[in-house]
Structures are given as C-alpha cells and as structure tokens.
Amino acid sequence: MPQPSPLIEMRGICKRFGAVDANRNVDLAVAPGEILGLLGENGAGKTTLMNILFGAYAPDAGEILVEGRPLRIARSGDALAAGIGMVHQHFHLAARLSVLENLLVGLPGKGGRLDRPGGLARLAEIGARYGLRLEPDRPVSALSIGEQQRLEILKALFRGARLLILDEPTAVLAPGEVEGLFEALRAMAAQGLGIVFISHKLNEVRALTHRCVVLRHGRVVGQVDDPAATSSAEMAQLMCGREIVPPLRPPAAPGGPVLELAGVATSAHAGMRLRDVSISVRAGEIVGVAGVSGNGQRALADVVSGMLTPDAGTLTIAGTRIQRFSPRAVQAQGLGRIPEDRMTTGLVAGLPLADSMVLPRIGTPAFSRAGLLDRAAILAFVEEQIAAFDIRCPGPMARAGSLSGGNLQKALLARELAFNPRVLIAAQPTRGLDIGAARFVHDKLLELRAKGCGLLVIGEDLEELLILCDRIAVIYEGRIAGVLEAAEATIARLGLLMSGAGGHA
C-alpha cells in the first residue's frame, strides 16, 4: 500500500538489560491506516520495543516521532496522551466494575463525578464507527475473554488512541472470536488508525497485516511488504534465520496399552465435569485430545497427573491401576507430566531454575538422602539437562522467572524426559512458543514416541495435533465425542465433533 507520512516513527532505538541487547538500533514506522505485523521469536525484542513506545521503559538511545514531532515520554500517561494505546496479553480491568466504569476510570469527570452521559455518548459513537459494541452496564466479571479484550481496545480508543499496539491478542481467543477481532481491526485501520499486531501465528499475520517487520536478536532483520503473498515458511525463515519445516511422523509401531482411562467421571473441575471418559494410549503412539477450551481438558489432565481423584472409573498406567491419586503415585508408574500452565503450576518463578527442575522428584534417592538434599547431584543433573536441551540461561541458579517461555518449556521437558517416562501427558505443550521452540518440542515428543513411550497430547491447535498424533480424540462437554485415526482426521471433521454436532462420527 502507499506510504503516507508516518503516524509514528521510531528511530535508532537501543535498549540494554544488563549484558543483553534487547533492542539494537531499531527503526520502525507505522502509517495511518496501516496494520503492521511485528514478528520475531521469543526474546527477539518485540515486547521491549512496544513497551518503549508505550512508555513503560525509557530507551537508552533513539527517538520517537509522533506525526513528525518528537515525543518525550516521562511517564506512561504521556504515551496515551500522544495517542498511543496498548492492549497487553494480560488484561488490566477492574472485574467488579461495569464496562462503562472501566472506561471512565482515570478520565477527568464532571464536578468530581464520573461523566456518565458523556461516556455513554462516546461509547455509542465509537461503537458505530468501528463496530465494537459492548453493553455499558455489564460487570466485567460477566464478560467472556473476547469481550474483555474488546473492552481493552475500547479503553484505548476512548482515550483517543490513534495507534493501537496489540501484544499476541489472539493467544487467548477461541477460533470463532479471532475473526471478529480481525474485522474490528480492519474497520479501525480503514478509519485511519495505525495498528501494530504482534503474533507468533503466521497464518493470522498473513491474513491481517499490510506489512511486517521482523526482529531477531533485537535488530530489524527484514521486512515483508506483501504478507498475504508470502508463505509462512519464508516468514519463519526470516524470524529464525534458518528453515523450519514440519516434522515427519514415521508410521506407528504401537505396542500394548500403557495408559488407560475407563469410564472416568469427575465432579465439576475448572467449570466442567468429565462423564464416562475412556481413552487408551499404546506404547509408541501419540493420542491427541482436541476440543474447544473449557470442555473438560483441565479435569482430564488433572486426573491423569494425579491431581484430581475421579468419582468413578479407573486409571491404569503401565498395567498398574492407580488406587490413591497423587502426583507421586502416577510418577511412580513411569508417567511424565507437562502441565498446561508453565508459570503457575510448572515452575517456581522466584526460585533458582535448579529448584524447579528437581521439584517433582526431590524426595527420591536421585536428589536427596534421609531428608538431606544432595546438592552435588542436583547441580550435576541440572547442568547436564541445560546442556542437553540447550536451555538458554545464565546457569542453574538463575531465577526460573527470568527465562523465556521456550526455555522454560525445554526445562520442563528435560525434567520429565530425564527419567525415561513410559507415558507422557502434555497439555498445550507449545502454547505461546515461537516456531523454533515449538519445533523443538515437536521433535522431542516424536523422539519419545520412537522410543516406545505412549503420549497423550491435549491441544487446541488442530494443525499441530494433525502433525503429531496417530489418533485424535475430541472432547466435548466432558465426554469423548469421537476418536479419529490420523488418516481420516481432517480439520473439518474435527471441527464438527468439537462443536458437538457430530455425535455419529
């Protein structure tokens, strides 16, 4: 598209954190009406750059121009006043307040009170312009994730944002909600707003953006002028600096069953109860569990991980029926576990990485004796795994929370794979990872399969499941709605089962 004078221009931005160059001499411009994709692996410097633009960090060098005038950012309110709005991955909303109250918080009111009539008028005007509508009096706690995101966008527009930064906005959305977001963003761009869209999902970037800038190691390494006409593989190569092809899955040679759920039922857990779930995983095969988030995946993962005791049914691991459900009990039968949420259940962010890597097996002779930690063995184990999995970190004593998502996932894989599991359950094993890191995880899972381990992979990304799985079970409202062999599974058939429409599959 033609390049009118830029709405925002960043010139020569540099930012260091300790020894790390997060941004090196980055130039970036966004024109009015332009949707700019910002691509890069985890740790490439995208979020730092946008935080500088939004005023959360001060750059070490470089300048920011808004419509040709230099922008001085002394506090984060200054970026807002200059028309720069940001929608973070994690929302900043007051759950007990209504939609309108959230919009009016922090704005000058009338005579010490919220300007409700003015707010309603503005909300209606913005709604009409961009097709973004929300009922003003609904409490935020009653909104879906997609609606909360819409409210975050409305908040930015309410404050007169002319440039909107969205940091991985689709990561939290269900497939149906993504298209709605894209329509709204296109409408905003058509009205002359500038949009910066950060995402790992290349098909989305190709569908939405007008132009892409690619960051690697803090530098701009390339630009894609026509994303729709550029293949995902080309973009991935720019991002990673090497070619990324999907892994090959050799034909399965399954052995006997290593994980069997029979008639498992639970009470409500994370909003959904399991009803008569039976799944069997054989040695040397990967079974996927597909489904729209919230259909019982969490309860399923927690039962298999020993965190939740079912009300009925049995769990058998490697021929042994689990009587008392606990993480130690399932681990003792050779089950490895990759949790859905790395930061809240997988790792202890505030403690050294080493602690997280030995946590599930700290009481075993591998790491302690008679209640005393074997520090030498722990350090040797962690150092070995850091080398084997190429975990990028300053060392075993680095705070786990300082590692990138990809490296944390490697650490979690390492801590389970080191004990040669006979069965592995992995929930959302590549959520939030960039292409390179996701490919690493895929390779490791397929490697395990080749070694004769049985895997149960719970996922939302159907393309990923189709690459990895020999069979895919679809979970819908706590039941298994159907199981498809790899050969007969297509996105369309899975989608039908996921929507609850295909009870006869």
């Binding site: 959360a56 202890v348 403690l351």
Partner: protein, 350 residues
C-alpha cells in the same frame, strides 16, 4: 525526572546493600527527631553505639537482649518463607515462657531441667502457632488476623493466671512462682548476664539456615511459599508443609520465652517481653528472611534498645526513640525491597 522501571534480575550485592541502606536511611531520618529534642544527633548516636557495643558490659547486655529476638526473628523468617503469615510470635513466646517456667519450678537436676524446659517451651509455642495454621489449612481463615489476635488472648490468659491461681504466694506482685535455682541457665561470663540461652540462639541461626537450604523439608517450605500451585503439582503436600512451618516457627518463638525465663527473669510476669515477638518481624524483614541475616539484624535492634537507655540518660532524648528507630527500620527496609524489583531511571524532564 525520576521514575521506576522493572528490573529483570537482582544483583547479589543487594542482599547486603539493602539492609545497610535501610539502616542508614533510618538513622539519618531519626536524627531529625533527636535534633527536635535539642540534642546533637551525632553525639546521641555516639552514646548509643559506645554504650551498647563499646565495652564488655554493653556488648554482653546487647547480646543478652538480642537472644530472644534472634529466636523470634528466626520464627518469623521460617514462617514467612512458607508464606504462613505468623504475626503471633509474641504470644508464642509467652506460651513458651509459661510452659518452661512451670517445668522449671519442678525440683530436678539442672541437666534434666534445662532440656525439659526447652522442650516444654518449644511445644507450647508450637501449639499456639498451630491454631492459626490449622484454621487456615482446614477452613481458609486468614492467618494474619488469627495469629495477631491470639497474642492478646495469650497475654490476657497469662494475666489471669498470674493474678489468680498461679500467683507467687511469696511476692506481692502478679508474678508467677520462680523456677528452681538448679534450673537457672549458667552464666557464661562472670559479672554479666550473658547466659547459656544466648549461645543457643547463636547456634540456632546456622541450624535453621541449614534446615531451610539443605534439607527436603526446607526445600518444600521454600517452594510452597513461592508457588503453592507448582509445589502441589510437584507432589509436595502443601498443607502438611504449612503445618510443619507453623510448628517450627512457633517452637522457635517459644524458645525465645524459654531463654528469658531460664536465663534472665527466672519467673513469668506480664512485661516479660517488651515486644520481642513484633521485633522479630522487623528483624526477619531486615534479614530478607535469611536465617543467617537474622543474627546481625537482631543485634542491631538490641543495640538500639540498650543504647537508647544510655542515650536518654546522657542527652535527655526520650528513650522511646529506640522504638521509633525500630519502626523506621521496618519501613525503610520495605521501601528498600522495592529496589529488588525495580530500578530508578533518570529521564529528560518534559
């Protein structure tokens, strides 16, 4: 213009620099109060320092005073590591004092009496600490509120005891009967009050450090405190760990009471502790919950307390300045802890 910016890592030298900076900020800000009391701040601090640490007598007095605060500081550090918010060290100390005094009043050889007093005192402190811990684990009751309010319950129960059934028949005051002389803790340096309990406190600090950093129980306490969800997923029985931390914490606070009864007062009265339990919170925060850091932090506060009396006599500044310094030290340390997560950046003013 100054502003705060998130920090990605915390340098190691902060562990030393933060408490020292907090202490310096405390002394500087309190010098204004000394000046208001028409004294020279430098001279006042000089008297404080020389009287508390400058000679053998001052030093032993300071150490004797530090001993119960080392125990309460350790008690709070252990509890806070597990995120069991034990604000009740004061009440646990009193419970420990009562139990050890009751045991020490039974005639028996000193070698039997002293360990028996320690066990009884630790058990009583642990029992009191278990109340808020069980309420939290079983019923999800806020442990800050329950552990804090238990302090008043224990204090009034003690008053009821020594005003009534347990009042020393020989004394006119509300004081418990004394312990047997054979149970008096030995004095380590003749002519001073430095008793065996002080040595026990100095040994307890490295022992607790070892427990926290080198044992599986300490590992479980650290992990549970930092992220109970990950601990549970990792197979740690979080509820049991919280109860274990409560027993340990209450036991240590109880030992503070044992030392005061066996080594200093030889009986129980309602002013046995001038707030040693609450000082433990200040000390644990100054030490950044590191058991080894508890010793210098406790000695600092003890020096302020003993020094404040001499300073008051020499310069006429009210003795309550000692309490002000203690409060300021906690506030300064809480502010200083901000710098573990943030750095200050200077930006061009608009």
């Amino acid at each position: 213009m100054l502003r705060l910016e998130a920090r990605s890592s915390t340098p190691a030298w902060f562990n030393l620099a933060l408490p020292l900076g907090a202490v310096a900020a405390t002394l500087i800000s309190c010098s204004g109060l000394i000046a208001l009391a028409r004294a020279n701040p430098l001279a006042a601090y000089g008297v404080m320092l020389s009287s508390s640490l400058g000679d053998l007598y001052g030093l032993t007095e300071t150490l004797t005073r530090a001993a119960p605060m080392i125990f309460t500081g350790l008690a709070v550090a252990v509890a806070f590591r597990a995120k069991f918010w034990n604000i009740g060290a004061e009440g646990q100390l009193m419970a420990g004092a009562v139990a050890s005094c009751a045991v020490g009043a039974i005639p028996m050889p000193g070698a039997v009496a002293m360990p028996a007093m320690a066990v009884a005192g630790a058990a009583a402190g642990a029992a009191v600490a278990l109340v808020p811990a069980l309420l939290r684990v079983r019923l999800k009751v806020d442990d800050v509120v329950t552990s804090l309010l238990l302090n008043s319950i224990v204090a009034y129960a003690l008053t009821a005891l020594i005003e009534g059934p347990w009042k020393d028949p020989m004394g006119g005051y509300p004081i418990s009967p004394p312990i047997e002389e054979t149970a008096y803790f030995p004095i380590l340096i003749a002519g001073t009050r430095l008793h065996l309990g002080v040595l026990a406190a100095l040994v307890a600090a490295p022992a607790i450090w070892f427990l926290i950093s080198r044992t599986t129980l300490g590992f479980a306490i650290r992990v549970t405190g930092e992220n109970a969800g990950a601990a549970r997923y990792g197979g740690i029985r979080v509820e049991r760990v919280l109860l274990a931390a409560a027993i340990l914490s209450g036991g240590l606070a109880g030992l503070a009471g044992v030392g005061e009864v066996g080594g200093v007062r030889y009986q129980v009265m309602s002013d046995l502790s001038p707030g040693f339990g609450y000082s433990g919170i200040v000390i644990a925060m100054l030490a950044r919950l590191n058991p080894l850091g508890v010793v210098p932090a406790a000695i600092f506060l003890a020096a302020v307390m003993t020094g404040a009396e001499a300073m008051s006599r020499a310069t006429g500044v009210p003795v309550f300045l000692g309490d002000v310094i203690q409060g300021m030290a906690l506030l300064s340390m809480l502010v200083a802890l901000l710098f573990t997560g943030y750095r200050i950046r200077r930006t061009a003013s608009p």
